[in-house]
Structure formats: C-alpha cells, structure tokens
Subunit: 186 residues, 2 copies
DNA sequence: GTTCAAGGTTAATGATATTAGTTTTTGGGA
DNA sequence: TCCCAAAAACTAATATCATTAACCTTGAAC
C-alpha cells in the first residue's frame, strides 16, 4: 500500500457527526470538515461519493446507535409494559444525547438522506413481538406504530422547542406512554 | 407611488411555498424563485431579509394553515373524544396535503427557521381545555402534549417513509389515538 | 533504482446567497 | 408640460459552496 492514508471513511464519518452535533447541520461544509482533518477538501471524495452520501451515512449511524441503545432493554425482567417503559426511556435518552443528528435522521425533507426504509422496518420487528404482549397479536403492528409515533413525536417536539410551557416533561412523557399502553391493554 | 412594484412579499411567500411543495425544500433557490416571478434575484431582498427569513415565514404560514384547518373542529357536536378524533383527522389531512412544508416546519435541525415557540404554545391552549374533558384538569397539559406527540410523530414517520410494512395506516392512526384517549380516561 | 498505483494537491467550474452601486420608472409638484 | 425625487428594479462583484479534472507524491514490490 503505497502512500499511507492520512484519513479514512470512519474518521470522516465520526468527525462529521461531532461537527453536526456541535455546530448544527447547516454549518457542516466539506471545507470545514477537511480543515479539521488536516487535508484539502477534494481528498474527501476518495472516501465519500458526495456530501449527500456522507449525510446519509451519518443518518445510518444514528439509527444504528439508537437501536443499539434500546435493544438491550428488550430482554429485561418485568412484564411487557415495564420493559416497554424502559425502552421508551432509553429511546428518549439517546435522542437527548444526540439531539441534532437524531433530528437530522428523522427529517424527511430530503429523501436522498434517508437510510433504507426496509432495513429500518426490519430492525423494529423484535419490538413488535413485545408490543403484541400488550395489544394482542392482531393489533401488534398498528400498536407498535403508535408507540413509535408517540416516542418520536414527543422527542421531536421537545427538540424543536415546542414544549416550553413548563411542567415536568420527564413525567409527561412516561405518563403519556403509560396511558397509551393502558389504552391498548383493554 | 413611483415605480409600481412588480412583486410583493405575499406573492414571494406563496410562490416559495408552492415551489417547496412541488420541488422539495433543497431545490428552493432564490435564483429560481426570482426567475419564476420574472425578476432578478437581488430584487427579492427588498421584501425579504434573507433566505432564512423567507423559510421562517414559510413555516409560520404552515403553522397558521395547520391551526386554521383544525380549529373549526373544536366546537362540533359530540363528546370530547369524538371531537378530538375529528381534530386528529383534520391534522393528518393537512399534513398529507402539504407534506413538504409540514415536514419543513417541524424540522428542528435549523433553529433559525423555527417560528416563535411561545406563540405556538399559545395557539394550542384551546385544545388543552378539550383534552381536560378526557384526562381531567390536573393532567390536561401532559395529556395534550402526548396527543400532539402522537399525531405529529405518526404523520412524520409516514412522511419519512418509515411506515411501509403494509397495513391500513388510516385505521392504525385512529386506533392509536383512540387507545391513547382511553388510557387517559381511566 | 525503477515502477505503479493509491492518496493527496492544485486549479477550475458552476451554483449559491448576499451586498454595493447604478439605472429605470413614474406620480406629484413646478 | 416638464422635472424630480424616490421607489423599485438592475448590473456587477464577492465569498463560499460542492464537485470534477488533471497533476504531483509517496513508498512498497520487483
């Protein structure tokens, strides 16, 4: 391997994530990214097809991180609602730890930035089995979708600064999910 | 009034909305916008401070449109859950009719594009009173937040192409909200 | 030491938002 | 009727992007 590489795809991706998280998505330019990595801008194109492809990779990493954060809570002690509450808590915690990249990943305005939706849906199947314990098998898919919607929607409204009228958001989140599960349990 | 204006802020805004909705947010450039309006790009700056300000105005219009679409259902016949279901249906319908601008409005990745959050929260107060009929006064704020989260989250996941495993999304949406309301009603 | 290909650089292109300075238009006052 | 002031447009220029093409640089293998 002549000419040892100064950078690689991995470091580009993690640096991009950090940069986005600290400066905001709009501030991410390949110029700035290259400067931080100590390299000229066109060099990045040896590892990344385009800025769009880079952002899509960032989004894929976000989803992987998110699922890595919540999956361990699938097989924990307690009944289904208890485990779902733990998953919901971990879900929100992850979003709070990575607010900008989380928001970017779930931003639908640019279709090219979306990871493969089929892959996405597949990762969620184990959670459907858990939800089935609450809603019954028949309704497990719509029940899961509502749960995902509730978690995602709450977190997004929070991150968008739209839940600022006071009150404890932690308990509001848990209360809402508990109510949702109770409603399906009937 | 010397030199009658060829454009005005209003037509810039509506054209921008149309352009975003038809071509996607990323495709909106001031050049293209100016060309459609039959004017050179710098002329836009007489009416709009910056592209960011224009997008914020688009978002404000989106929120106004959304609330205009759901508010009429506040005072309709039936009990509170029935009225909330009508509101939820109208909410989702609006998002489906304006998918791109709805997504843009709720995209938190760029803080400068957000309309005044205080204003936002104020607009939602009448709905809290309705929610109180289901949850009781004490819990009306968290219960409302969960409802908004559920509606918004569901719609966003839909628009982001993340609910593609089949099944009837219309009934999944309504079922989930019904379950949520039932859970609070206990 | 020559070769060769991976990795990096320089230079250039076209699009972008934005600003400064200039020109065009026209209604109201002379 | 003519002029003029100011509103509203325009031209020109700048800086920053992402991206591409063409050219160097390195160092391991022969």
């Amino acid at each position: 391997m002549p000419y040892p590489a100064q950078i690689n795809r991995e470091v580009i991706l993690t640096t991009a994530c950090e940069l986005i998280e600290s400066e905001g998505t709009a501030q991410l330019s390949l110029n700035q990214l290259a400067k931080i990595l100590g390299v000229k801008t066109p060099s990045l194109y040896r590892y990344v097809d385009s800025k769009t492809a880079l952002l899509r990779a960032v989004n894929e990493a976000t989803f992987q991180g998110l699922f890595a954060a919540i999956t361990p809570h699938l097989d924990t002690p307690g009944d289904a609602p208890q485990r779902i509450m733990r998953i919901a808590t971990a879900y929100r915690a992850y979003a709070h730890q990575h607010p900008v990249t989380y928001g970017l990943a779930y931003t639908n305005t640019i279709a090219e930035l979306r990871p493969d939706p089929v892959e996405q849906e597949r990762a969620v199947i184990p959670f459907q089995a858990l939800m089935a314990e609450v809603s019954g098998e028949t309704d497990s898919l719509p029940a899961l979708r509502g749960l995902l919607a509730l978690m995602h929607g709450f977190v997004m409204l929070e991150l968008a600064g739209q839940l600022q009228r006071g009150g404890d958001l932690d308990t509001a989140y848990l209360q809402s999910i508990r109510a949702y599960l109770a409603g399906w349990g009937k």
